[in-house]
Amino acid sequence: MAVMANLGIVLRQMTAGRLGGITLDRTVKVWVYRLLAIGASYLLWDLSTGGLGLGWRAWPPVILASPSDTFASLSAYSASGLMGRDVTQTLLSALYGLVLAIVCGVVFGVGFAYVRIVGDTLEPIFSAVNSLPRLAIAPLLIVWFGLGIESKVALVWFTIVFIIYFNTYLGVRNLDPDLVRAVRVMGGNGYHLARMVLLPSVLSWIFAALRTSVAFSLAIAVTGEFVGSTAGIGYRLVIATGVLDTARVFAIIFLLMAIGFVLVQVTERVEKYLLRWRPEAIG
C-alpha cells in the first residue's frame, strides 16, 4: 500500500515537473495531442467491435463490448434509477470510511506522538497490522457488520486510517522545534501552540496523503462490495459480470473512472489551495 502511495507521489511529481513552466503554446499543443490520442483509441475500439459501418469484429462482444452498446447500457442504467442509488451507496461508504479514518488517524497520531511510551510500544504492532492485505479481512468484516454499508465503511476505514495515522505521527514528530520555541517565547500556551504550529503542520502532512486516500477509499469501497453487498457500484459490477453482460461491465467501469477522476481533481484543487504557502506544493 505504501509502495503504491509513494509511486503515486513520484508520478505526480514527474507530471508536475513536465507540465510546470510550459508556455500557452505548449499547453494548446498538448491538449490537441491528448484529444487525438483519445480519438484514436476510441476509433480503434469502435473498429475492433463491429463499428464504423464495417461490421468487422476482432473479438466477440462478451470479451469487448462496442462503444454503442456500452453507452446504451450506461443510459439504461442511469434511466432505471439504479445508477443514482448505487453511486450514492458507494460514495457514502467511501466518504464515511474516509472521514472516520481521518478523525481516528489524527487523534491516534497526535496522541501517540505525545504520549511517547504508547507510541513506541504500539509502533511495531501497527506496522505489522498495516502490512496485512486489507482485502483478506473483508469476508470477516461482512460477518461482523453484515451486507450493508457498515462493512464497507469498516473496510475503507481500516485501509485509510493507517495512512492518516502514520502521516499525522510523522507530522507531530517532525514539528520544527524553532517554531515551537518562537511561539512559546511570545507567551504562547498549549492552545496557541496547537493552533498556530501543531495543527497546520499536521494538516500539511495529511493533505500530502489525501489524494491517495481519496482514490483508495473509492477503490476499496467498490472492492468491498464485490465481496458481499446488496447495492452499490461494485455489487452491480459483480452481477453484470456474472451474467456476462459485458456492455454493462464496461458502462460501470467508465462510470467509476469518471467518478474517480472528478474526486481526485477536486482533492487536488483543495490541496493546492490549502498548501499554497509551500514553495513546491506537490502536483
Binding site: 520544527d176 524553532d178 517554531l179 520555541r181 518562537a182 511561539v183 512559546r184 517565547v185 511570545m186 507567551g187 504562547g188 496557541h192 498556530m196 504550529v197 497546520p200 500539511s204 499554497r276 504557502w277 509551500r278 514553495p279
Partner: protein, 288 residues
Amino acid sequence: MLDAGYHEWHNVLNSRIERRLEVARLRTDHFSLRYGSVEAFSNINLEAQSGEFVAIVGPSGCGKSSFLNALAGLISPEAAHVEGNVFLDDVQRIKLTDWHGRLGYVFQQDALLPWRTVLQNVEIGLEIKGAPAAQRREQAQELVKLVGLEGFEHFFPYKLSGGMRRRVSLIRTLAYDPEIVFMDEPFGGLDAHTRMILQREVTEIWQRNRRTVIFVTHDLGEAIVMAQRVLVFSHRPASVVGDYEVPFPYPRDPITLQTMDEFAQLHLKIWRTLANEFRVEEAQSVLV
C-alpha cells in the same frame, strides 16, 4: 523651530523612557549551566540597565547562545543543571512562563511560521495577548512599513529573501512590545551588505523605542557599531572576561563609524581580550 506638537510628542517620549527606566532591568547572579559533566558557562554576573543595549561577543561555541536560552528559561531542567539566579527588576525569573510575554527573542533562524503571511506572522504576539483583530492588523501594518516591507504583507515567507525574512522576524518580536529583547546572531547567514543595513535599522529602532537589548554575536565590529556596552565571553565554560563601554553617540552609521580611529582603537583593545580566548581554545583543541 519647535512647535507645540513637537513638545507634546517629546513629553510623551520622555515619560515613556522614564517608565522604561523603572522596568526591564536584568541581573544575573552567579549564573551557571552544566550539561552533565560539560560546563557551558559558569558564574556569570551580568547587569543590564533599563533600555541598555548590551552586546556579548566570544569565541564560537563558547556558550553565548546557551546563556540566552538559559536566561529565557528555554532549557529544560532534565537536559541541564542551572545554578544561580536571574532577576528582572529584582524579581527572580527562571521559567519561560515567568516572563509572561515581557520577553522578545530574535533567533538565529527567522523561525517564521511558513503557513502564515508576513502580516499574520507579525500578529502572532498580539494574537497571543488577545488584542482585537483590527488593532492587530493596524499595528502589524505600521511595523511592516517601518522596515520597508510594504507590498509584501500578504506574501508567504518562502517568497521572501533572507534579509526580508529577518526583518519580519524582527518586527514580529517588536509587535507585542516586549520590555527586553534577546537577539542571538540575528543577522547570521546574511550577506555583508544586508547585514550593514539591518545593523543600522535595528539601532535606529532601538533609539526610537528603547528596550533593554542583549545582543549575541561573533562579529566584534557589529557589536561595537550597535551596542552601548560590549561584554567578552571566554572560551567554554564561558565567563565574562571583558566589559567595555562603547562611547560613540547615537545615531550611529555603521559605515562611517568603522572608518574612525576611535573605532579602530576600541576594536583593537577588545580584540586583544577576545583573541586571547581564541588562542586558549585553539591550544585546548590541539591538546584534545
